[in-house]
Amino acid sequence: MSGFLGRLRERRAAAVARLPRWWNRALAGTLIAFGIVLPFFFPADSGFMNGTIIAVAYAVMSLGLNIVVGFAGLLDLGYVAFYALGAYSLGWFGSGFFFKLHVHVLVSPVASTLQGVHLNFVLILIGAAAICAAAGMLIGLPTLRLRGDYIAIVTLAFGEIIGVVAVNGQSVPVGGGMTLTAGNLGISAVDAPYFPGIGSFSLLNLRPWYWLILAILLLVLFVNLRLRDSRLGRAWVALREDEVAAVSMGIPLVKTKLLAYSVGAAFGGMAGAFFGTYYTEVNAGQFAFGFSIFILAMVIIGGLGSIWGALVGGLTLGYINNYLIPDVLNDLPSKFGLHFQLTQVEFGIFGFLLVIMMLLRPQGLIPERRRRLELTAQIAAEDAQLAEAPAGEVTVILPPGEGAA
């Protein structure tokens, strides 16, 4: 059996080697083009479009969390904090919530007559990323001396504190009769994204929303890919694999860890701001601990540390949560004579998926190359191969850019 698999793997490697150099780019281009034209195959206000938009936004969060948990190995159980901060950035700077102020920057003609702070969505997106990056550093600071499970607990505590502040923000005055948040009432009537020349987005036509979040996803994906192969990305992986060894090789611990937190947080904030405007309100009830686990489940089911895994995991769980369970399978239990709906137990389903995934395929759907090598016995095989090869033929493969340094 293993001989057969080995031959199969060799064939595959040979086939990949025969592919022309432009193949990867062509594949990526085709996928992006497919992503762009996808909405034309579905009605502009369909449930499937809605599910797709949310799934893509989840994928953005999943890619962000993957940097913290997957690359840097810092188990963050409070990622919902950045969802909350991103969404509140939108609530604060893109609605009439701060009703005493009158600030308008590049917003639609309608919004520019309203009271409150109204900034263009792109500015809010940048602001949300900046706020979350700062918050990520703040959350990272107390965890610097800690490892493993203790980091998980501190981040969890931060996430819960932000949730509590969001719920009780109604009673926190910020001056002029205005409060910090609107608690469970929610900040409603937030601005829809507006771009000069395109106009305001409307929930009757979901296509522009889709393209917007797709653009954010592509940006985040690009940054992720570049970071992974950068000096910083390698430093994260080194810290994850062996902190003591990495530090003694001269990797700055504090800077590297804090950057992981803040980059991951910034992406979460961007997705949070998008969710704020897409759901048309910012409600404190959205920011529960379960959400952190939900995003973590995406990263893990995809494959810790794997960018494509995080993407696929985010899209898969996003579709399951927002299309499959509520729209397709919801009344399944009642067909078996049980009196509950599947949406009630969705977190139970995710819990079950997590357990099954860990027991059967701990490396995830699309594991990172390094982890796959660790988990299969390939390293041993390669070592044996190297030992057998004549001394002159052994080639040392360095990652690009490292040989010269």
Binding site: E160, I293, G351, L354
Partner: protein, 369 residues
């Protein structure tokens, strides 16, 4: 209670002067942080007084510490429940270094089982006291068996297969099981808090010490908690199985070489933790007179905070931490408002982690140095 510590200890390394200073700052900083709330409110009560009620339409302002004492009494008895749960966390962490996220939900299942058994046994507030006490004892035993077995089952299914995998894997299955149990609870008793019959009249005052009314509930909680904690520390310190637990906590590999059945010992640890959680579940249902599928999640986080505060892996520490967290909670409930309590407790957790990651009574471990 001399050697209840079961966390792995490291050989002491020579301490550099700066590190020693930092260690003291950590220890005293933590104690100062813990004392801040009670001292502040004590002074506040003495100087400004507190409103003790109305007489003939006028506010009665008292200038004494009995209000603070009332907070403490309530907090300590709440904290005794957290202590029972926290022991489960600390035992499991001590032996396999896993935060058993599902533990809080095992406690919740304990509450639900107990309330279900009351219905089966026909326990209600007005019945013959002898039968009530007997019924409650029976409920306690059955609940402890149920939750203990549940905890062992979870270990067998979700943690044992991952013993050699990275630690993250087991933590994630623990979170997964927590969600599964929560949803079992949700389907069992619905999504809203349900009130259960007040079987023993928890709020009746039995006697008063220095103006602090001692209610039946307080006595109940300690009457269950103290014997259980003593039984547990006797078990860990004085029995063969307890010695096997301590040995496994120190070094599983060496323990196995010495002929200890490590898997059975770990199962035993989960059994003990689960049984204490079940007892806590019954006491919680009696004391709070309501149950909710989400109670386990919150209690779990609070109890874990307590275990960390006391020094994880340390049974005495878990009890101490539970009592302290209970008092912080009661003070925050009464003075700041219950809606902020969660934030206050977690704020304390972060302060502890920053100042003294190993907790009040804990030793240095690999995780938190």
């Amino acid at each position: 209670m001399e050697t209840t510590t079961i966390s792995p200890t490291l050989p002491t390394v020579p301490v550099r002067p700066l590190a020693a200073v930092r260690q003291h700052v950590g220890q005293w900083g933590l104690i100062a942080a813990l004392a801040a709330l009670p001292v502040y409110y004590g002074i506040h009560d003495l100087v400004f007084g507190y409103q003790a009620g109305y007489v003939a339409g006028h506010q009665v302002i008292h200038h004494d510490l009995s209000n603070l004492g009332y907070n403490f009494a309530q907090g300590l008895s709440n904290g005794a429940i957290w202590a029972l749960i926290a022991i489960g966390y600390t035992l499991v962490y001590g032996i396999i270094e896993l935060i058993n996220f599902a533990h809080g939900d095992v406690f919740m299942i304990g509450s639900f089982t107990a309330v279900g058994l009351w219905g089966v046994l026909g326990l209600s507030p007005g019945i013959n006291p002898a039968w009530l006490v007997g019924g409650l004892l029976l409920t306690l035993i059955i609940t402890m068996i149920v939750t203990g077995s549940l905890n062992v089952l979870i270990e067998r299914v979700a943690y044992r297969p991952l013993r050699s995998a990275p630690k993250l894997a087991a933590l994630i299955t623990a979170v997964g099981f927590s969600f599964i149990l929560q949803n079992v609870g949700l389907l069992w008793r619905g999504g809203t808090p349900q009130s259960v019959p007040d079987l023993i009249g928890v709020q009746q005052t039995v006697f008063t010490i220095a103006g602090v009314p001692i209610q039946r509930g307080y006595i109940l909680v300690f009457a269950v908690m103290i014997p259980l904690v003593f039984a547990l520390s006797w078990f860990i310190n004085s029995t063969r199985a307890g010695r096997a637990m301590r040995a496994t906590a120190q070094d599983p590999e060496a323990a196995r070489l010495m002929g200890i059945n490590v898997n059975a010992t770990i199962s035993l640890t989960f059994l003990l933790g689960g049984m204490l959680a079940g007892a806590a579940g019954l006491v919680y249902a009696l004391y709070e007179t309501n149950v909710w599928y989400f109670q386990g999640f919150k209690a779990g986080l609070i109890a874990f905070t307590a275990a960390v505060m006391g020094g994880i892996g340390n049974v005495r520490g878990a009890v101490l931490g539970g009592l302290i967290i209970g008092v912080i909670q009661a003070l925050s409930d009464a003075r700041l408002g219950p809606q902020w309590t969660e934030a206050v407790v977690f704020g304390y957790l972060i302060v502890i982690m920053t100042l003294r990651p190993r907790g009040l009574l804990g030793e240095e471990t690999r995780e938190a140095g």
